[in-house]
Symmetry: C2
Subunit: 323 residues, 2 copies
């Protein structure tokens, strides 16, 4: 599977190499160039290319839209890193660490504008369809980020509010990436909307999987410390579901564990409570339900099964269902 998405990824990496910014002011543009070349799976622009190729077999017309979503995504990362006070991004220093806060704010702003510039490469008719979608998605991504920040200081977060947060913060940009591709590929409005829904539901499933893996992954494969969310008392789907289902004793046990300083004891204590409450199974079921809705969305698109295959494979790859 990885082989088949590599074609798209290579195409995006080449497009990023051709993406040249002015050399001055260096403190505005060097951080952008640095950040854009930190790597990453380039999943969003790959989706845009796939979204076009499904409908018209040549994805090169999707290049600028693919660049737009990748540039926009990286703008959000630069600003999120300031808010999270994160020192590292993909193993390298974040922009606010390597330069400073003000440069990270301003180069993030400039990067968002670069994303919008990419859209001007389309015809007036295509632009007038792409821009409202891009704007709406951009607003929702900000809303999702704000809810995520709000939840840190909210004592009781509803499961539905959490699902809406991950939908806005992450999933809508996947849907947007695909739908922009569909628009460029001249898909029907129904097909473009079904593809958008596929991306959003797949994105929610992917985020739920992320919550599950943080607790239950094989540490060698996961790439980061298992249990990090538990240690940070992060309000994941697993924790919110557990707190919703907990009886009084279990609730008190959670409250004690939130204050526990011994991280090994904390992780094993929370995992024991999750086991009592069947949290892994419930979270997997929720993830599967979004995955199934995504597959139904894909089924509803009026093109051949063969044309849908790359996207079906990508979904299986993203959710570790390669079997």
């Amino acid at each position: 599977m990885i082989g088949s998405i590599q074609t798209y990824q290579t195409y995006i990496e080449d497009a990023l190499k051709d993406f040249n910014l002015p050399s001055n002011p260096a403190n505005l543009y060097e951080p952008i160039t640095y950040f854009m070349h930190l790597g990453g799976k380039r999943m969003r622009p790959v989706l845009t290319l796939m979204g076009t190729e499904m409908f018209q077999s040549d994805f090169s017309s999707a290049k600028s839209a693919a660049m737009a979503v990748e540039l926009f995504h990286n703008f959000t990362l630069i600003h999120d890193d300031i808010m999270d006070e994160a020192p590292l991004r993909r193993g390298n220093e974040t922009v606010h660490k390597k330069w400073n806060r003000d440069i990270a704010i301003l180069s993030g702003d400039a990067l968002m504008i670069e994303a919008y510039k990419q859209l001007t490469n389309y015809s007036p008719e295509a632009l007038s369809q792409l821009l409202p979608l891009f704007n709406q998605t951009a607003s929702e991504v900000c809303e999702g980020q704000q809810w995520d920040m709000d939840f840190e200081t909210t004592s009781s977060v509803e499961i539905d509010a959490y699902l809406k947060m991950i939908k806005y913060k992450t999933a809508v940009l996947l849907g947007c990436s695909l739908k922009m591709g569909a628009i460029i590929g001249k898909a029907s409005e129904e097909d473009a909307n079904a593809l958008y829904a596929f991306g959003v539901n797949l994105g929610i499933a992917f985020q739920l999987q992320d919550d599950i893996l943080d607790v239950y992954a094989d540490e060698n494969k996961f790439g980061k410390r298992v249990g990090g969310d538990i240690i940070a008392n992060k309000k994941t789907y697993l924790l919110l579901k557990a707190l919703e289902d907990a009886n009084e004793d279990q609730m008190n046990a959670f409250k004690t564990l939130f204050e526990e300083k011994d991280v090994v004891a904390k992780v094993s204590g929370v995992k024991a409570l999750y086991a009592e409450l069947n949290i892994k199974e419930q979270a997997s079921e929720k993830m599967n339900s979004f995955y199934q809705i995504a597959m139904n969305n894909l089924d509803n698109i009026q093109i051949s099964a063969g044309q849908k295959l790359p996207l079906r494979n990508l979904a299986q790859y993203l959710l570790g269902r390669e079997s």
Copy 2:
């Protein structure tokens, strides 16, 4: 004169009253609503309305573009206030003070997106002309802000670099505001470009006047402390010109004054050096030269003198030439 721009200002204030954002997340949208209602002269959207009215007598079609430039301008102010660590904006708390840094970053981002949303109210053809201009201007405003920040730690700033900085940081958005109005008013490309140049040159003249007033204004009329730039060692046109012209003794006198803690002695000392070096006259001459170029740009527009009158009056009003 103030009477005649009031019609446009009232129109903008009404448009801002109709500008409704979602109520949630409150921490994202309340800061925007708060900030947009802190007041201000609304000079940029007024220019957009005037730019349209010059060519087609009814400015209502310019409403969304006028909103776009005003929203964009306020986005830059919210982020600039973080970078400047400014506690107050128009006598009220800045967003990062009233809320916090992260909310100021994110609500600024969301406000920029709102500016782009306004542009989607135009036809595909108009949008395809407005968006590249808006993007280019937005990038230049970021560049200007970065240069301004860079200059704080640059020992020797060239006059030309300073003029480019104020052009990008402030003047190009005035040109853009007018040209967007001209595009909506279906002006010829030549007229739209001449109007853009008028706005840019007027903007540079206005910024130079700001530098002059900071030293030589009547404190009762100026509204802020006279000499603030001198006290802060701010690299204004006046200071840069003085340092360019200074002989060795005068240069040493400046260096001593930069360290002077007694602000009254500091301001009078720098003003004495400015007098020796004819700085007020030289700065006024530079300002007048940009004003004259702006007037020539206006002359070149192929419409009647009567249609140009509101803009000519506005320029005289902005530069205090009401006589």
